[in-house]
């Protein structure tokens, strides 16, 4: 099944100020058969941002776990745990209908963190 063009690409600012950007091909620099996320050092992320085609953006900042959505304001969305670790994935939904020959695919982006306890705090972005 043909894959979809990703609506949002991520950018990482590390604690030492260096920047890593997901390539449009979503191809790892370290291991080209894997995706760009393979290259991300999740233990040293300061800001992880998803940027869309209209330059809209969604960021999460560490260690505070605050979120930023298309504005200058950082929001503390969940007040859970102490040690927070980056969570980023795309949830892909594929629907098949019996008796037809077509399938529909939808991608939702999840961005946030898990903490030293059960559960996680994530944004779902369509």
């Amino acid at each position: 099944m043909k894959t979809e063009r990703l609506k949002y690409l991520f950018e990482v600012v590390y604690t030492d100020g260096t920047v890593y950007k997901q390539s449009p091909e979503d191809e790892s620099v370290l291991h080209p058969s894997k995706s760009s996320f393979y290259d991300v050092d999740v233990d040293n992320v300061e800001i992880f941002t998803l940027r869309g085609p209209g330059n809209e953006f969604y960021s999460v900042r560490f260690p505070s776990g605050e979120f930023q959505m298309n504005s200058d304001k950082w929001i503390n969305q969940c007040n859970l745990g102490t040690t927070k670790k980056l969570v980023y994935y795309r949830r892909v939904t594929v629907d098949f209908q019996e008796g037809t020959t077509k399938a529909e695919k939808k991608i939702v982006f999840y961005l946030g963190w898990k903490y030293d306890g059960p559960g996680q705090c994530v944004l779902a972005i369509e």
């Binding site: 099944m1 043909k2 894959t3 979809e4 063009r5 990703l6 449009p24 091909e25 979503d26 191809e27 790892s28 291991h31 080209p32 058969s33 894997k34 995706s35 996320f37 393979y38 980023y88 994935y89 795309r90 949830r91 892909v92 939904t93 594929v94 629907d95 098949f96 209908q97 019996e98 008796g99 037809t100 020959t101 077509k102 399938a103 695919k105 991608i107 999840y110």
Partner: protein, 196 residues
């Protein structure tokens, strides 16, 4: 122009994990069809005979052949996780029920694969009723093949080749004499997974 179209397709194919829906048929599941986009439960074990063909029709009181499907994930990705198979929309009429193998809880729950039959519930000792909208089973993923060991809830890109397989998704349409003649109400089935 053709070169441009081909280039564009290749570029798109690199932008997220490549999902493929597959079906196996025949003796010891020896026949593989990749890239189909439906499931048609029939009285014949293949992917080619259309469901309205007389040889596909299931008489009321009998069952379809078991369908042995699975998904593969290729292309550039780092991990695949949380794969589910669910009944999303549409309700069958009277006398019809859709059975599915049980949810994966431990890696040993995966089925090794066997020749499709029309015998009721012969694929698993505890099949699951997938007739109701919202019913869902958990799938595990791992390298090598749908029957191979090593399947987990989350798995990493194994590299060379970059393929992960779900366990077999085994379904069967079972009927009673209360089933009405004609086509069933079409239902929508959903596969959901997380990738990064």
């Amino acid at each position: 122009m053709i070169i441009w179209e081909n280039s564009l397709r290749e570029l798109y194919n690199k932008m997220s994990a490549e999902f493929t829906w597959c079906e196996r048929n025949g003796t010891s599941l020896g026949s593989v069809t990749e890239g189909i986009t439906n499931i048609n439960w029939k009285a014949i074990d293949d992917t080619t005979t259309w469901y309205t063909n007389p040889s596909s029709i299931i008489n009321a009181g009998l069952n379809s052949y078991t369908k042995w499907n699975y998904c593969t994930f290729g292309g550039a990705y780092t991990t695949i996780a949380n794969v589910t198979f669910s009944h999303y929309a549409g309700t069958f009429g009277p006398g019809l029920s859709l059975r599915c193998q049980k949810s994966m809880v431990v890696p040993e729950d995966k089925l090794p694969g066997s020749t499709p039959t029309r015998t009721a519930d012969n694929v698993n000792t505890t099949p699951y009723d997938l007739s109701i909208i919202g019913s869902s089973v958990q799938l595990f993923i791992g390298p090598t093949s749908p029957a191979a060991i090593g399947k987990l809830l989350l798995n990493i890109n194994p590299g060379d080749p970059n393929l992960l397989y779900t366990n077999y998704i085994v379904t069967q349409l079972q009927t009673t004499t209360a089933a009405l003649p004609g086509d069933t109400v079409p239902i929508t089935l959903r596969v959901e997974y997380d990738e990064n």
